[in-house]
């Protein structure tokens, strides 16, 4: 049986503001878990609670059913949203230092730092100061610092924000590899398409409460059926709004994505589409994570 991070009944208030409201969910090993929610939903507070950086009013964070203490946290890796690095420190020394704080010997930390910096394609910058690097490379340094001690749990707050496609691909590959190696990986992001691509599971919270959780497959196949319709020259989905049982989910790239409840008739949708113009695409599909997200918050 693999490792398991459990968050049970977390509560945290800042005066009248409720940041976490009886929040419970799990992060199993071997999977990348996407942690989603609108701004102010409580994602960062939850992640900080895992590392004891926020005092909880109630609830508990456990690792393999035992409370999380300093010894456990040494085996975790953390990347905060607003990057946590010494701007004036050399890249290589910084990664080694954080590795040593996680319990590595000086030699092991130096070797591991070299390996991860090469893997994240910043090996050439090891003797540069962090403040001399671009945003993307600073992000890579931060990830190397979180990975240098081969953590059993990786918690990353917005690891993909501000990265170019190459950076996203490199970091995404590392995260998936770590999960496949048995690590628990929890990442927050607002880039929902990337989350769908990278993650095995998704947990969505709003106002500090859990609103949806499950594997990407479970969430994609649950809820109303999806129909994608493309009509030549038609950029809106006004033609579908009057069809009974049909809701316009989104309009993107010239195609309308429609949610069909049980009362909806797909033939009626097709007729309405043909009346609007020449239909070039008409296909059933899975629910996207972005749709799950939007519909969960309604």
């Amino acid at each position: 049986m693999g490792a398991l991070l459990q968050l049970e009944g977390l509560r945290r208030s800042y005066g009248p503001v409720v940041a976490l409201d009886d929040l419970s969910f799990e992060v199993p090993s071997g999977q990348v878990v996407g942690f989603l929610g609108p701004n102010g939903a409580g994602k960062t507070t939850t992640m900080r609670a895992i590392f004891g950086l926020t005092d909880l009013d109630a609830g508990e964070v456990t690792w393999n059913s035992a409370p999380v203490g300093q010894a456990e946290r040494r085996r975790f890796g953390y990347m905060p949203e607003e990057r946590g690095l010494y701007p004036g420190m050399l890249v290589g020394e910084q990664v080694e230092y954080l590795g040593r704080l996680h319990g590595l010997s000086a030699t092991t930390a130096a070797d591991a730092a070299a390996v991860w910096m090469e893997r994240l394609e910043i090996g050439q910058r090891r003797d540069a100061k962090v403040e001399q690097l671009s945003h993307g490379n600073q992000q890579r340094v931060q990830l190397a610092a979180a990975l240098v001690h081969e953590p059993e749990l990786l918690v990353l707050d917005e690891p993909l924000s501000g990265l170019d496609p190459t950076g996203i691909e490199a970091i995404g590959r590392v995260l998936v590899d770590r999960a496949r190696a048995g690590c628990c990986v929890l990442i927050s992001s607002h880039q929902l398409d990337l989350v769908e691509e990278l993650c095995d599971r998704v947990t969505i919270i709003d106002h500090g409460r859990l609103v949806a959780s499950g594997t990407v497959d479970e969430l994609a196949t649950s809820g109303p059926r999806r129909l994608e319709v493309r009509i030549e020259g038609e950029r809106s989905a006004d033609w579908a709004r009057g069809v009974p049982g049909v809701t316009v989910s989104e309009v993107a790239g010239g195609a309308a994505r429609l949610a069909l409840d049980e009362s909806a008739d797909s033939d009626a949708v097709l007729r309405a589409a043909m009346a609007a113009g020449r239909v070039t695409e008409f296909s059933f599909g899975r629910r996207r994570v972005s749709e799950v997200f939007r519909e969960s918050l309604q």
Binding site: G84, D127, K129, S134, A145
Partner: protein, 454 residues
């Protein structure tokens, strides 16, 4: 004394200007660095294995302290600042020896008509008092002696134990004769002549010459301090002030920067707040103590090499006392500055905090300098010497003046250590609550509320 203070103030000003220029330059570089430089700007060797062993011995605290030591010692500000202080201290030790004449001055004194044994003793005693070495040269006649004077072969001539001839007026800057020696010999030869004219016997003259001065006492217990140890005390106090404010400001800015860069979140995910704070205080404290010890050792070595009067008598003790008070003062103030730094996350907030924190330091420093200069410590000043915020300066001043007993010194140190323990506990509590709170500056009132009421 004025020369010393002028030199030290000049050195401090130069250091301050250098620091300001460097900060402006770094700010401009940051703005200009829109893209990564193609070549790594800094290349350094591996950290020293000895430091690794020390880090390992102290665990997480040692690791944090080791990083602080490496980063601070590597910084150009520290290296340039240390060199400037060494130069300043060296100048303060060496310049007075040049000013007062370095080493014995050789004086050749011509003698016309012979010199009695009493006269020879007078010349020898005067030479010793003026730090001169005198060589007596017999002259066959006054005219011959004048020729030697004009030719510079002798510096002065004693004629028949009754007159002293010089080539230039006695106080002329171009005169090769030591005016102190000339005046003293002239006075003593006059006394010998008076003895002769009074018809005193040789034994009577001898008894008079062996006189002992009467005791001088005052109603208030006397100061054992000398001008020399006062001078050393002032030098030490200027350095104490400079180093105490510099290193405590490092703590203040260091804590603020860790908070503003959010690196503190990564660190506190692994180590406890007290370990992080303790490591920082220990690391910067080790750098401060190392720098101070280097400066004191350098001052003692230079003083011994040039034979400086500033390091004679009680002066080394005053310096060592100031070194100890640097440690105690740093120990007390560093926690206060760290707690204050944890409530700020911007440079302007730091400046707002730094001013009130530095007031007791500034007060103790200025008051102590004035007391050392006047030589009189009143009862209020002596009370301040037992209060931890002002003790580093006031107690050092009392040591310099020789107006403190060993048990008073120890008592003040113990009070300071006890107060430091209390301040450290309080500061750690503030730090833990404030350092992870971002946004506007955290108010002290909020931090003092009971846990869980935020």
């Amino acid at each position: 004394m004025k020369v010393l203070i002028t030199v030290l103030v000049a050195v401090l000003l130069v250091a301050r200007i250098a620091f300001y220029i460097r900060r402006r330059r770094r700010g401009a570089e940051r703005k200009a660095a829109a893209v990564e430089p193609p070549v790594p700007a800094v290349r350094t060797g591996r950290p020293h294995p000895q430091l690794h062993r020390i880090e390992h011995a102290f665990g997480d605290v040692g690791l944090v302290a080791g990083r602080e030591i490496r980063e601070r010692v590597r910084g150009r500000i520290f290296r340039v600042g240390t060199i400037i202080m060494l130069v300043g201290v060296g100048a303060a030790v060496v310049i007075p020896t040049i000013h007062s004449g370095s080493g014995p001055t050789p004086q050749r004194v011509g003698v016309v008509g012979g010199l009695s044994s009493d006269g020879r003793q007078v010349v020898a005693a005067s030479a010793k008092a003026n730090d001169d070495t005198v060589t007596l040269v017999n002259e066959s006649s006054t005219s011959h002696a004048k020729a030697d004077l004009r030719a510079g072969r002798v510096d002065a001539v004693i004629v028949d134990s009754d007159e002293i001839l010089l080539d230039q007026p006695v106080n002329a800057s171009t005169s090769s004769a030591d005016s102190g020696l000339v005046n003293q010999v002239a006075q003593y030869l006059g006394v010998l002549r008076a003895y002769r004219e009074a018809g005193l016997s040789a034994s009577q003259v001898e008894r008079i010459n062996k006189y002992q001065p009467v005791a001088v006492s005052s109603l208030v217990s006397g100061s054992k301090g000398t001008n020399l140890s006062k001078g050393t005390s002032v030098i030490g106090m200027v350095l104490l002030f400079f180093m105490l404010t510099q290193y405590c400001t490092w703590i203040l800015i260091g804590v603020m920067q860790e908070k503003s860069s959010r690196v503190v979140e990564v660190l506190l995910a692994v180590v406890r707040p007290i370990q992080l704070l303790g490591g920082k205080v220990l690391g910067i404290g080790a750098v401060a103590l190392g720098q101070a010890a280097l400066i004191v050792a350098f001052a003692l070595a230079v003083g011994a090499a040039v034979g400086s009067n500033l390091l004679h008598g009680a002066a080394p003790l005053a310096l060592l006392s100031e070194l100890l008070w640097l440690v105690l003062g740093y120990g007390f103030y560093c926690w206060v500055y760290a707690a204050a730094g944890s409530t700020a996350e911007r440079q302007d907030q730091v400046q707002t905090l730094a001013l009130p924190l530095s007031l007791p330091i500034l007060f103790g420093y200025i008051y102590s300098i004035s007391v050392v200069s006047s030589g009189n410590a009143n009862a209020f000043f002596k009370v301040l010497a037992f209060l931890p915020p002002t003790a580093p300066f006031c107690m050092s001043a009392l040591v310099g003046l020789g107006q403190v007993t060993w048990w008073q010194f120890v008592l003040s140190a113990l009070i300071s250590v006890g107060a430091t323990a209390g301040v450290a506990l309080f500061a750690a509590r503030i730090y833990r609550r404030a350092v992870l709170r971002t946004g506007s500056r955290v108010r002290l009132r909020e931090l003092l509320r009971p846990a869980g009421s935020s």
